[in-house]
């Protein structure tokens, strides 16, 4: 009944991508898009969505589906970490593309048959967050990694700690400053 648990090409693709093979991204992207859609519709469907639950549990679930069930726990953490970067990369690309289309102007008209309407600001703020995160990385690389894993990857504190080989307490401590710093940065940028 389960989908064949034999070797999943996803694992292979993620390995290739984290090993620097850019073409693997083209194949990964649609899968992540699909997971985003699922994630989204499930969140919308619940009457009182618990966002943090959605973020962690569902993203987790999404990635668990993508990789082999028999990958060792350490490996899984590694994959989540790779996935977090992948997710960030894809979302930012998406936002950039939207931005370009918006600036391009013109009659942005598509046939009704394909009426997938993407709002011009559908990933509002994401580019700014990405830039701020880049700046944070130059100031304090580990903090930006923590944000990436927790927020883009939906990893738990413990998993983030394991991925970065630091203690969970350190994660707790560092994320506080990282969030406050990012928040301030975004507000200042907007002002």
């Amino acid at each position: 009944m389960e989908i064949s648990p034999s070797s999943s090409p996803m694992t292979q693709l993620l390995r290739q991508w984290s090993g620097g093979d850019k073409s693997a991204l083209d194949k990964l992207t649609p899968v992540v898009y699909d997971q985003l859609h699922r994630l989204a519709s499930r969140c919308l469907r619940s009457e009182r969505p618990n966002h943090s639950l959605c973020a962690t549990a569902l993203i987790h679930e999404a990635y668990l589906r993508l990789i082999d069930a028999d990958v060792a726990w350490q490996d899984r953490i590694h994959f989540f970490a790779v996935s977090a970067r992948l997710m960030r990369r894809i979302l930012v690309d998406h936002a950039k593309k939207n931005g370009r289309e918006k600036r391009g102007g013109g009659a942005e008209v598509i046939p009704l048959d394909e009426a997938i309407v993407v709002g011009p600001d559908s990933t509002a703020g994401l580019l700014e967050l990405d830039t701020a995160l880049e700046r944070l990385a130059t100031q304090d690389h580990r903090k930006s990694e923590i944000v990436e894993l927790l927020c883009f990857g939906g990893l738990t504190y413990d998993e983030t700690a394991a991925a970065l080989k630091i203690s969970p307490a350190t994660v707790h401590r560092e994320i506080k400053l990282a969030k406050a710093w990012l928040h301030r940065e975004l507000i200042r940028g907007a002002a």
Partner: protein
């Protein structure tokens, strides 16, 4: 500003130290620790300001984006069963400029609403949104019968929506569908639009987007104008008004495909991007009235710019050429309303209303009455004048290019690229599906071979009557579970019922049910343990494919259906789609007692003990209200009880509530939709039944009962060839589907009597005997017909069809008084009960017509149509109605039926 590593370390330490200090002492603490380093103090203070303040973007960028993905891909991601606030989505109605529209149920007030979910591009503009909300509220405060009532303007998560009155009827666009309307209808609709505008203008609201898409016409001809104030929101996003190109470019992309629709009815000042006033609406109304009469738009073109150029400079083709019968005064009204210079138009809609009323009374056979507004129960007032003028109107050669022709033609290259990039998201999903499938490659030929499976009732091995109910209900549960697998045809429970108390020989069963595989099972209970043995048999070589014995604790009964279903899938080496995998995954736990009661309830229903079935299912639902199938079967039991046991209307209401609950709990389940659609059709709501079934067919295309039920609905609406096609498809999937039903009545109405007779099963129940006699009767094989009618009546004298047959038999033998007495008595009983389906009323009307009691025939015919059997196609040709054909009242009824059938057709085909 970047800090040195040392400075950063200092900041970090001080930040955490400050956090450890109570908030009220922090200021002092920082002054002390920063000791004159104002920059450091400011840095820490500003960071502390943001500490612990949640920001969605940071906390869950993925979720944020995911929401946008969902709302961005709009309707495709909101599906029946979803809950938005206190609204449960029932079905998709359509896409509009503002977003997607759904039929939803307001769980709080228990009423149907139309839920319009705003396109995110519009909802992103906060100021625009507020302005729009204000206008929407103002419009709703108008409270005019011709203006759609808005109930609520709300937001859940990042979804903005408008809940409004649900109008059961087509849009004017659908009614037009490439042809004009009769003059009376056109004027009547224009009058009602004008009344809506009059009320709005009096409150200072200009509609700005009067067009056929924004006008709805209810079944009783009451017109509703939609979308007041909405265009303003869109215009607010337009930065450079003033030239057509800028307008076209700046209209939000959520206007996709609709831009041209709106453009056709714009006033010249609107097209120029100038301020608009009420006179702009007058122009648009003129253009709509023109189109209703001419059957084509006053101003048209292949691109928005072409349309706008026409509006600014062109002159519409003269109505005296396109529709020469149009009275001069009507042409004058339209001409004045569509003056390019607003100073030359009607200055107020009231003036135009006055002229329209004059024109209406001059042209209406019932002088002085245009249809009143606000009376929902009023009888349909129909144009009685022939519409040959309009029907014969040839369309101009260049008019009405098809939708794709229009849209592709005016796409710029840039827009095409955009469309392609946007469509990538969709392609990606398709890619994923292929990808998932490719992970589990099908063995060659496996997909091509489709299995047909019969699941026999499980045998109770120990003579333990208290467990008899499991025999049928467990197999029924597995049948339901496997019903969603496309590559497998499962014979329905109704066809395996006959094997209830016998040891079926699998080969014989396979033969009888035309199944290539048969599942047999048996169970035995020992204390808390239940052992179930099953075997799957390939009947052709009579080979056991798989055998299993399942031991479960009695209180884990629910897992049996999951386990058996999964083993069958494995045993038959079926390839499942991801959706099927999801449907077949184990059920959410249901309370054990509730589940047992559910199984008992199904068993009782199958033995026709409806009262006991209701009690048992109600008990189950009260213990565990979250099991969708309980509600579906409860609804069915209520419905059957209402129909057969004279439970009356309240039971239909209860049934409806139960079905909705089931659908809300599990939107993908076909059963509640099938049962509910049947009830809706029988109770005169076929327009609601059709979307319910069509949605279900998207997920379960191989469900015979769904096709059958759709065929049934089409029959009531007079779509006879379509009805036959659906029923044939159902029979193809499952030859036994609804074998003892009114079967292929559509054949009868189409005059294909031989095919009709062939479609009947070979049994001699009273019901089937009547239908066999009926077919013979149409073929003038009167002796044979009378024999069958008399036998049916002797068997079940209270069965309605049997009585109709008896009356026809009496009439053939010249016993007119007997026939009349029986028919009148039957009709009176039906009126008393008030729960007969409309097709049965039609049968009584047929018999009255044969008896020559025209008055009674017309009376019952009118009730049949009112009750939802508006099969114009059969009224027009049915030989049994020939005595009525010369009656003016019959013509009137026929027109009503034709009108409803046309409306249905334009809405669904």
């Amino acid at each position: 500003m970047l800090h040195s590593p040392q400075r950063w370390k200092q900041i970090e330490n001080l930040f955490h130290e400050s956090l450890a200090v109570p908030a009220e002492s922090r200021a002092g603490f920082l002054v002390e620790r920063c000791a004159g380093d104002a920059e450091l103090r400011a840095e820490i203070e500003t960071l502390l300001e943001f500490e612990g303040v949640p920001m969605d973007l940071i906390e869950q960028p993925v979720i944020n984006a995911a929401h946008d993905f969902a709302t961005a891909s709009a309707g495709q991601r909101i599906s029946p069963g979803d809950v938005i606030g206190h609204y449960k989505i029932l079905s998709f109605i359509g896409a509009g400029g503002m977003g997607q529209v759904y039929l939803a149920q307001d769980a709080m007030l228990d009423r149907m609403v139309a839920l319009k979910v705003l396109a995110p591009a519009l909802a992103n503009d906060d100021r625009g949104l507020r302005r729009f909300e204000k206008e929407a509220r103002a419009a709703s405060a108008l409270n005019h019968p011709n203006i759609l009532t808005i109930y609520e303007f709300g937001q859940v998560n990042r979804l903005h929506f408008i809940a409004s009155e649900y109008v059961d009827g087509p849009t004017l666009r659908q009614m037009l569908a490439g042809h004009g309307l009769s003059l009376e209808t056109a004027i009547d609709i224009a009058l009602q639009i004008a009344r809506a505008l009059e009320a709005a203008h009096a409150s200072g609201i200009v509609h700005r987007d009067i067009k056929p898409e924004n006008i709805m016409v209810r079944g009783d001809r009451l017109v509703k104008v939609l979308d007041f104030g909405i265009v303003k929101l869109i215009e607010s996003q337009s930065q450079q008004p003033g030239n057509p190109a800028a307008l076209a470019a700046s209209v939000s992309i959520s206007q996709v495909g609709l831009v041209i629709g709106s453009a056709r009815y714009m006033s010249p000042e609107q097209a120029r991007g100038l301020e608009v006033d009420p006179r702009s609406d007058i122009f648009s109304l003129g253009a709509v009235l023109y189109e209703m009469i001419a059957g084509k738009a006053a101003f048209d073109g292949a691109t928005i710019s072409d349309v706008i150029a026409e509006i600014l400079k062109g002159t519409p083709e003269s109505l005296s050429e396109i529709a020469p019968d149009t009275p001069a005064e009507v042409q004058e009204i339209i001409g004045k309303a569509m003056s390019k210079d607003r100073e030359s138009r009607y200055q107020t809609v009231k003036e135009m209303l006055g002229d329209l009323q004059l024109a209406s009374s001059a042209n209406s056979p019932q002088a002085g009455h245009s249809s009143a507004t606000g009376d929902g129960n009023m009888r349909p007032r129909l144009a009685t004048r022939p519409t040959a003028r309009n029907a014969g109107t040839p369309l101009a050669a260049n008019a009405k290019p098809g939708p794709s022709g229009v849209r592709f033609g005016w796409l710029s290259t840039k827009a095409r690229l955009f469309a392609i990039s946007v469509a990538l998201a969709v392609l990606a999903i398709a890619w994923v599906v292929l990808f998932l499938r490719s992970r589990n490659p099908a063995p060659p030929g496996a997909q091509a071979h489709s299995h047909t499976l019969a699941i026999l009732p499980f045998r109770n091995l120990r003579q333990d009557p208290s467990l008899d109910y499991l025999g049928f209900s467990l197999s029924d549960a597995v049948i339901t579970k496997l019903g969603s697998v496309g590559s497998l045809t499962v014979r329905p429970s109704s066809s395996i019922e006959r094997y209830r108390n016998q040891d079926g020989d699998p080969r014989k069963v396979g033969d009888e049910l035309d199944a290539d595989t048969v599942l047999t099972g048996a169970f035995i209970r020992d204390g808390d343990d239940l052992r179930i043995t099953t075997q799957l048999i390939d009947v052709k070589p009579n080979r056991i494919l798989w055998r299993d014995s399942i031991d479960v604790k009695f209180d884990k009964l629910l897992t049996v259906q999951d386990r058996v279903s999964q083993e069958i899938v494995k045993g038959l080496k079926l390839n499942l789609t991801p959706a099927e995998v999801e449907t077949l995954s184990p059920e959410k736990p249901v309370d054990q007692e509730a589940y047992e009661d559910y199984l008992r309830g199904i068993d009782l229903y199958s033995m026709n003990d409806f009262g006991a079935a209701i009690a048992m299912l109600e008990k189950s639902a009260s213990i565990d209200p979250n099991y969708a199938l309980t509600w579906a079967h409860l609804g069915k039991a209520y419905t059957t009880s209402a129909t057969l046991r004279m439970g009356g209307r309240e039971e239909y209401d209860k049934a409806q509530a139960a079905y909705l609950k089931a659908i809300a709990l599990n939107p993908k389940l076909p059963e509640p939709r099938i049962y509910m659609a049947n009830m809706l059709t029988d109770t005169g709501r076929v327009e609601q039944a059709v979307p319910l079934l069509r949605t279900a067919l998207e997920t379960s295309p191989n469900n015979a009962e769904l096709h059958w039920e759709l065929g049934y609905a089409y029959r009531f609406a007079g779509m006879l060839p379509e009805s036959v096609a659906e029923c044939e498809k159902a029979r193809q999937i499952d030859p036994d589907v609804k074998i003892n039903s009114s079967a292929m009545n559509s054949y009868l109405y189409l005059g294909e009597y031989d095919k009709f007779l062939k479609s009947l099963p070979e049994n001699d129940s009273a019901f089937i005997l009547f239908y066999r006699g009926f077919g013979e009767y149409y073929l003038h094989h009167t002796d044979q017909a009378v024999r069958d009618f008399d036998r049916a009546y002797a068997m079940e004298p209270s069965l309605l069809p049997a009585r109709v047959g008896k009356a026809l038999s009496d009439l053939s033998a010249g016993r007119k008084a007997d026939a009349n007495e029986l028919l009148h008595r039957t009709w009176d009983e039906m009126e008393d009960r008030g729960v007969s389906d409309a097709e049965s009323m039609y049968k009584v009307a047929q018999a009255f017509a044969v008896a020559g009691d025209k008055q009674a025939a017309l009376h019952s015919l009118s009730h049949a149509i009112d009750g939802g059997f508006f099969c114009y196609s059969c009224f027009a040709t049915d030989p049994l109605l020939s005595s009525l054909r010369s009656e003016p009242e019959f013509q009137r009824l026929k027109d009503i039926a034709r009108h409803r059938q046309d409306e249905f057709k334009s809405r669904f085909f």
